[in-house]
Every structure is written in structure tokens, then in C-alpha cells.
Amino acid sequence: MLFDPHIHMTSRTTDDYQAMAAAGIRAIVEPAFWLGQPRTHVGSFEDYFLSLLGWERFRASQFGIRHLCTMGLNPKEANNARVADGVLELLRLYVEKDGVVAVGEIGYDDVTPTEEKYFAAQIELAKDAGLPILIHTPHRDKKRGTERTLALVKESGIAPEFTLVDHNNEETLASVLDSGCWAGHSIYPATKMDEQRMVTLVKQYGAERMLINSAADWGVSDPLKVPKTAQAMREAGIAEAAIDQICWKNPLNFFAQSGRFDAKAFDESLAVDQRQLFEGNSVLRGQAPRTDAV
């Protein structure tokens, strides 16, 4: 069983869900993030948050995949003061919703003082809600951005075991693991991290507090990167127990700290009943519904 702890399914198709289920993905976390262009109204965020909790969770369930999500104001849009304060207020409500397992993606993008203000405020929000945090690290000036991230996390007083720092590479991983935080890796077709580099990192650093994800979204990305990387690890002789830890147990245990879901139940397959509707809508278009015996 595989877990993709960072994937933006609102941007993906049912073909993706089918392929992910066929490749063994049984659970995902969809972090709230931006939509490729900035939103200009607070209300757009609210409808997006509702879709993560509603329609997207339903869509995933129709393919036997458990869908959890994180809520947050992403760093890019944190720079827009005209929406940021309103979104922060909304988040006080949305972090309390069932199925929300962390505050995220939060962090730095351009590493501006404004980003830092909302980053810190959302760590406080997570502490109040008893939720872990999922942190995006910047594409540009990554090493410095990651160092500042770890310093801010430490200063905030949130426990490192409640902190997942994502999008690591060869130059950031050691400091993240040394800090006691969990370390995520986004396996991308061309940027961020790839399968073979990930194999090398696992051989060097082991499996403890290590996670991988596809971070698939509306851009060129691949929702099957977790199974593909698991296979690459297998072919490189990495033990099955380590692969299982990285691709299932670690994400499960990290997000289970939220107390918002029963991790034991995840050992059982999610029964699919495609006869179900969500607010009158089905994912089917005339196909015979699949139903599993419960």
C-alpha cells in the first residue's frame, strides 16, 4: 500500500485516480495551495477549501483512495495583503473541519517579511488547533530559505515531530533531519527531485522521518511518482521494510498526530461504491458502477 502525502488532485483527472489506485496508492493528502494564478477575493479561497473537503474527498473515495487535506494560506498568495487577512480569519474555522490533518502548505516563497508574518501566524494557528504543519520550501534561494524556515520553526516552539518540511534536495536534507523535523521530497519529471537521486538519498540517510510525494498539480508532473520511486528503490536493493516505511508508515504516522483520523482503519482497503452521489453528482458518465463487498 502506498501513500502520496502531497498531491493536488483538484487539478487531476479521473484517469489519474484510476492509475493511482491500480499502482497501489490507497491514501493521499491534498494540501491547500494556489491555483496557478493568484485569487483576487477571499471568497474564492472559501469555495476552494470546501471543494477539498467535499467533492474531492468524494471523487477519491470512488476509486478506493482515502483523501485527507491540509488547510493554509500558501506563501505566494500571502504576499497579497488584500486577501491574506481575510483568509487567515477563514482558516480559524477551516482548520477545525474533519479530514483536515495539518496546516499547510505554508512557508516561504520569495522569502519576504510579509510571507514570514503569515507563516508565523499559521504556525500559531496549528499550535492552537493541535495540528502538525506542512511546510513548502522555496524554489529560489532554497538553502537560505530552508535555514530560515528551520529557525522560525524552532523559535515558534512547535514540536519538530509535528513539522514536515517539504521539497528537499541534496543541500537541504541534512539540516532538516538534524532539526528533528520530517523531510518530504517531491519527485518531479524535471525539477525538484528525481527517482535515482532519491534512491541515493535514502541509501545515505535511511528511512527514518523520510517521505516522498509527487506534488502533482496543474503543471507538468506525474501522479505516479510515489509508485515509480518505490520501484526504483526496490531495484536498487533497498529493503522492503524501508520502502514501506517511507511510502506508507511515515506519512500515515506523521499525519495521524493530528488525531483527526483512525490510522488503524487505513490498513483495511476502502470499499468502493460508485452508486453513491455527492450532492446529486456522480463521477460516472454512463458506466456501470463498481461496488465492492463491504
Binding site: Q37, N79, D110, H139, R140, D141, R144, E171
Partner: protein, 219 residues
């Protein structure tokens, strides 16, 4: 009418016979404040230019320092519209007005706003538009802000300027197209570029030549 609005509308009128009627209709939409009617004209107006819309314009002497050869008649027409509209927007509200035109614009509108930012009165006030543009994923919008545009080096704060340069490298937009880059290469920008080179090498990937240009400039 302001000198700038006069000069821009004249420039357009010399190249587009329907311009006087078009601007006249737009003027009727400006009071008490430019609203949806104005924004619709801003969006659609240049389309009415027909074949002339994308033709380059040889800038007259009054603009020669600010204008760039790649500006099209569309860009000038939109710049004229903004100049006309600003006469009906209180000074304190002008930055928010232009920001809204940018945010609610499709990419062609955004490109026109960005290219001609330097023509706005006291352009420093409109830097937020430029900062938002650098967060765009749409390449044509980002390019309009960073390439062949004097606004970037003149008005961006250091942090945002450095991020724009690094994003240009990421996006494959040559930093040689950034006007005034050399005067703004600082130790901090060199450090960021060197950090990126190190990251690329650690990933087994080639280092773009633009990175070396920055790290070695003046060395």
C-alpha cells in the same frame, strides 16, 4: 487632458482612423469614476484596431526614453486609456485602480499594463503591480515585466529585484534582457546565484550560463 494622455491619444489617432470616436466613447464612461464600461473598453478596445493591433510603433521624441521598440499599438492604446482614466481617479486611489486593471486582466491586458508602467505619473507608486507580475506563472506576463523594461531596475526593492532575476534564470529568460541589471548586481544577488549553481551541481544538472554571468560580473 494631461500632457501624457494628449500625447498618447494623438499617437494612436495618427495610426488608427477610428481612434477619435473610440476615445470619445470611452470618455463618456469615465465619470463619475471609471467602472465596468471603461474596463470593457480597456479589454476590447485594442481588438478594434484590427490588423494594426500588434504593429510596432516608432516612438516619438516625447517618449523615446521610456518607450521600447517592441511596444505595439495595442500597448499604446491601453496606456492612453489608463492615462485618460487616471484623471478621474483620486490620487490616493490610483495605485489600487491600476492594480485592479492588472489583476482582472487577461494576459494581453496584463502585458500592456506592465510594458507601459513607466509611463504612469510617479511610477514608483505602482510597484505592487510589478511585484504581482513576478509571481505569475504565465511566461508572457513575467517576460513583460522583466525583459526590456526599465521599470524593474528603477523601482523594484532589492529583495524583489533579486527574486525576479533568479526567476528569470529558472524560466530560461536571459538575464541579459534585464535592463539595468549590472548596476544592481550586489553581493546578495551573487550569493543567491552561487547557491543555485551549487544546488544544480549537487543534483547533477548543468548550470545555466546566466548564473556565471552574475557571479562573475565585475569580479
Amino acid at each position: 487632458m494631461s500632457d501624457r494622455a494628449q500625447a498618447l491619444t494623438s499617437l494612436v489617432a495618427e495610426r488608427w482612423p477610428d481612434a477619435p470616436a473610440f476615445f470619445e466613447r470611452v470618455r463618456s464612461e469615465l465619470s463619475p469614476a471609471p467602472g465596468v464600461g471603461f474596463r470593457a473598453a480597456f479589454a476590447s478596445g485594442p481588438r478594434r484596431l484590427g490588423a494594426a493591433a500588434q504593429s510596432p510603433v516608432l516612438a516619438p521624441g516625447s517618449f523615446s526614453e521610456l518607450a521600447r521598440p517592441h511596444w505595439s499599438l495595442t500597448d499604446y492604446t491601453r496606456a492612453a486609456l489608463i492615462a485618460l482614466a487616471l484623471e478621474h481617479v483620486p490620487l490616493a486611489e490610483q495605485p489600487a485602480f491600476v492594480l485592479q486593471l492588472f489583476e482582472a486582466g487577461e494576459s494581453g491586458e496584463q502585458v500592456s499594463v506592465l510594458r507601459t508602467l513607466s509611463l504612469l505619473p510617479s511610477p514608483d507608486r505602482f510597484v505592487e503591480v510589478g511585484l504581482q507580475a513576478c509571481r505569475a506563472n504565465a511566461l508572457d506576463v513575467f517576460v513583460a515585466m522583466v525583459a526590456e523594461n526599465s521599470f524593474l531596475a528603477f523601482h523594484f526593492p532589492p529583495l524583489n529585484f533579486n527574486q525576479a532575476v533568479m526567476k528569470a534564470i529558472f524560466q530560461g529568460v536571459s538575464v541579459r534582457r534585464i535592463e539595468g541589471l549590472e548596476a544592481r548586481i550586489t553581493p546578495e544577488l551573487r550569493r543567491m546565484a552561487a547557491g543555485y549553481a551549487s544546488e544544480r551541481r549537487a543534483a547533477g544538472r548543468p548550470v545555466p550560463a546566466d548564473v556565471d554571468y552574475i557571479t562573475q560580473y565585475g569580479a
